[in-house]
């Protein structure tokens, strides 16, 4: 315990670290806010950039960027309905309608404070629960991942669709698209039509930029006649009373975020969507109907996605397996400096472990600072005439799509998704489940096939659910989620 304090106070012995965390967080917030720039790209560049630096300094900078970027995506999601990062996809569902009502400032303010709280809670889980949570992550078998993916796909009903059927169609389409490319397990080409470009499949960020960014821009162009919405920017910071009122929801969302983040292969993006779904299901009287500016619809995903940051470090530091895309790059950064994260890192390199903890805490505070500042300026962006703003967004989408893999074809695919997304929006088909399908496809498919290979048959796979407490719990959760949507259950609850 005493050594932990010693390691934590390193930031006071090396104040440069504090500056670097601040710089990183600032960069992250703005990188996240610009659609097209991703955190993975930024952190990858920083790994090479900081290779000659000391490990402490390099880590401080990169951790700041990580925390910043997960939050930063909410800015553009709220203002433009274009998530700047995959973790902010759910934030736009209620954040944007709030902005349309002139309350962008309020939305951004609450997104900031909730991200801060979620981030701190995630770090606490990391600091005190890492070994335990590491075991939790390790106990996940293939069947458990399949059940988790199914739970994820069940959220299609909540992601902004009027009918479940529409959501399912979008989800099925999304999973199908996710299957395109060279199959990772058998190296067979699936649906590539002879195009070498498609060998690596469709990148979900291209899909996200197209479906949420460019499609939205096209859709909004059809509403040019609508006037500008004047933004109220006086009451930005939510009152203490508001924060306390939503505390139960905050805790629930943080738990979802930490648990999902702690699983290798599932990160803030999935956590945010699952959290939004649980908020939608279990909030009796939201401040506004979900999808039309409910505060709960911002609180849940924003808390969860930042909590998932702390959570994502758990498998990285205890199992050596990245918890999400950015921690994968951080793993490489650590190993370049001679460190190999694994179950023993907490014991063999406690200084690095506690450095990560304290940097994440500092980054959270800087998030609060940078997040709350500049809100007024950003709110003005929404007041720019659409005729100017939308083409700019289209161009940023082009650059963003290209920047992922330096491929011109990504730009074409992005526009294709834009057209698909536009028609979906036109006919009230939800776009969220489409992206969710693409994100969840690898998780679902690889684990399903592995499960079949391990147990030998479909019934065998099903019955393996009963051989583990965890699987059983997940299965019961699925049953509960299905049943709680039926009318019978709702009547029963009202009694």
């Amino acid at each position: 315990m005493i050594e932990a304090v010693h390691y934590i106070t390193v930031v006071f012995r090396e104040p440069l670290l504090i500056v670097l965390v601040a710089l990183g967080t600032f960069t992250g917030v703005y990188v996240g806010a610009i659609p097209g720039l991703t955190g993975v790209m930024t952190v990858s560049l920083l790994v090479s950039f900081t290779i000659s630096w000391s490990m402490n300094n390099a880590l401080a900078l990169m951790l700041g960027v990580f925390v910043g970027v997960v939050f930063g995506g909410s800015r553009s999601a709220i203002l433009l309905n274009i998530p700047g990062a995959p973790s902010a996809i759910a934030t736009g569902f209620d954040g944007y309608p709030l902005a349309q009502k002139g309350q962008a400032g309020k939305a951004m303010g609450i997104a900031t404070t909730q991200s801060f709280i979620g981030s701190i809670l995630g770090v606490i889980a990391l600091a005190f629960g890492a070994p335990l949570m590491g075991k939790f992550a390790q106990s996940f078998r293939s069947i458990d991942y399949v059940l988790l993916a199914i739970i994820g796909l069940m959220t299609v009903g909540s992601l902004g669709s009027k009918t479940l059927k529409h959501g399912l169609i979008a989800g099925a389409l999304g999973v199908f698209i996710g299957c395109m490319g060279i199959d990772p397990q058998t190296a067979v080409r699936r649906f590539t039509f002879g195009l070498t470009y498609l060998n690596s499949g469709v990148d979900f960020i291209v899909a996200m930029i197209g479906l949420f960014g460019a499609a939205e821009a096209l859709f909004q162009l059809t509403q040019l006649h609508m006037g500008k919405v004047k933004q109220q920017v006086n009451r930005i910071i939510p009152s203490w009373r508001t924060t306390l009122k939503y505390l139960p929801l905050t805790i629930r969302s943080a738990v979802v975020g930490i648990l999902v983040g702690a699983l290798p292969g599932a990160g803030g993006d999935i956590a945010a969507l699952l959290s939004y779904d649980q908020a939608k299901r279990y909030t009796r009287q939201p401040s506004a109907p979900f999808g039309q500016g409910a505060l709960e619809g911002i609180i849940a995903p924003e808390t969860a996605n930042n909590a998932a940051v702390g959570g994502a470090f758990i498998p990285m530091l205890t199992l050596g397996i990245p918890g999400d895309a950015i921690t994968a790059v951080l793993l490489s950064a650590l190993s370049v400096h001679g460190l190999r994260p694994g179950p023993y890192m907490i014991r063999s390199a406690p200084d690095i472990f506690w450095l990560i903890v304290i940097c994440l805490v500092l980054a959270s505070f800087f998030l609060l600072l940078f997040g709350l500042s500049g809100i007024r300026l950003f709110s003005k962006i929404v007041e720019t005439p659409k005729g100017i703003l939308m083409p700019i967004i289209l161009v940023l989408s082009v650059v963003g799509a290209f920047a992922i893999r330096n491929s011109l074809y990504d730009i074409l695919w992005m526009f294709l998704f834009a057209i698909i997304g536009y028609f979906f929006k036109r006919y009230d088909y939800p776009v969220g489940p489409l992206v969710l399908g693409i994100i969840l496809c690898p998780l679902l498919e690889n684990n399903y096939r592995r499960g079949i290979m391990l147990t030998g048959s479909l019934p065998g796979l099903f019955f393996s659910i009963f051989s583990s407490m965890l699987s059983l719990l997940l299965f019961l959760l699925i049953i509960f989620l299905t049943v709680s949507q039926t009318k019978r259950y709702k009547k029963w609850r009202e009694q």
Binding site: S44, L45, V47, S48, I51, S52, Q138, S139, F140, R141, S142, G181, I182, D183, P184, Q185, T186, A187, T196, N199, S200, G201, P264, G265, L319, G320, I321, P322, A325, A328, V329, L330, L331, S332, S335, V336, G338, R340, G342, P343, Y344, S348, R405, N406, P442, N446, R450, M453, L454
Partner: protein, 328 residues
């Protein structure tokens, strides 16, 4: 007044655009005139990536141009290989890869092989071993083979997919001992290792650097090393030939890592890149990286590298054909 301001702004804007276009003028004669893209075949944070990023950063200093490292994992690395092959043959796109491309054609993964690439620098290779969970019933490798012979298909080997390291060694084992395993593919060698830790699978093939710490702590144990002699750092673990001497005809064997460029690239450019990489690899910093990862340093390029790769390919394909993993 307003109009003249507007005109000035327009002129400035136009000038800026012209300048930007000029900046992007690609016709300069000295190589390298712009950033060089380095495409890593496997994921960020993995074994290949961790070797390549430091090398790229050190080589940058020799070349006075940035080496931008990008990961393009997927399809056993063939996506990255195809990308580099499709890129213009000007020396600005490099492939940073492991041993997998030697088998693409044989496996039907891709039409490409290392014959389509020139090796700028072959970094080194490493030794791998067989690992099981700490309280597994197997005391030696022979036990595993015995278990399979008693009950066919009962032993699960976690792999990284067709063409990956565990799959390759699995084929060698099948050729020599006749043992056939139930192979379960995972996304990365870390996941495959975790599958053994959690008990989902019985054993896997692990590189020294990935399994060392676990072996020391006791959660995983190396049953034997796939080599002619025990490895220095793990000298209590026997070499596989002590139990099955027939393996000797395939050893020494191990995954290797190198930097490649499309075949036919201008020789002067290749030489410049090779020497930059060689200088970078020779630095004490990088040598320490190699020691940390237990890589056997080779430092080959040109003809010597080509010979090494061709021998490796022939031996491996032979073993895979003998074992039936590959059809002739």
């Amino acid at each position: 007044m307003k109009k003249s301001i507007a005109i000035i702004i327009i002129i400035l804007a136009g000038a800026m655009n012209v300048v930007l276009c000029a900046c992007n003028d690609k016709t300069t004669s000295v190589f390298p005139a712009k950033n060089i893209n380095c495409i890593v075949q496997w994921g960020a944070g993995g074994g290949t990536d961790s070797l390549m990023r430091p090398l790229a950063t050190l080589a940058e200093q020799e070349l006075s141009s940035a080496l931008v490292v990008q990961n393009m994992p997927g399809a056993t690395g063939s996506i990255a290989a195809q990308y580099v092959y499709d890129a213009p043959i000007d020396g600005y796109t490099l492939l940073m890869s492991a041993e997998n491309p030697t088998l693409y054609q044989a496996l039907g993964i891709s039409e490409l092989t290392y014959a389509d690439f020139d090796c700028l620098f072959l970094i080194g290779d490493e030794t791998v071993g067989i690992v099981v969970k700490k309280d597994a019933a197997f005391i030696s490798f022979t036990d595993i083979v015995q278990a399979v012979q008693d009950k066919p298909n009962s032993i699960k080997l976690s792999t990284t997919g067709k063409g990956g390291l565990p799959w390759e060694v699995g084929a060698f084992i099948q050729d020599v001992t006749g043992a056939k395993f139930n192979q379960i593919p995972y996304d990365s060698d870390a996941s495959a290792r975790n599958a053994v830790l959690s008990g989902e699978c019985d054993f896997t093939i692990c590189k020294v650097q990935s399994g060392l710490e676990y072996h020391r702590e006791g959660t995983l144990k190396f049953l034997c090393m796939f080599s002619l002699e025990p490895v220095e750092i793990l000298n209590e673990v026997p070499a596989i030939i002590e139990e099955y001497p027939e393996f000797a005809r395939y050893l020494p064997w191990g995954p290797f890592y190198g930097v490649f460029v499309k075949q036919g690239t201008d020789l002067a450019i290749c030489q410049k890149l090779s020497s930059a990489l060689a200088t970078a690899a020779a630095t004490p910093f990088y040598q320490e990286v190699l020691t940390n990862y237990n890589i056997n340093y080779l430092g080959l390029s040109g003809l010597a590298a080509r010979e090494y790769i061709e021998t490796w390919q022939t031996n491996t394909v032979q073993a895979l054909e003998n074992s039936g993993a590959l059809t002739r």
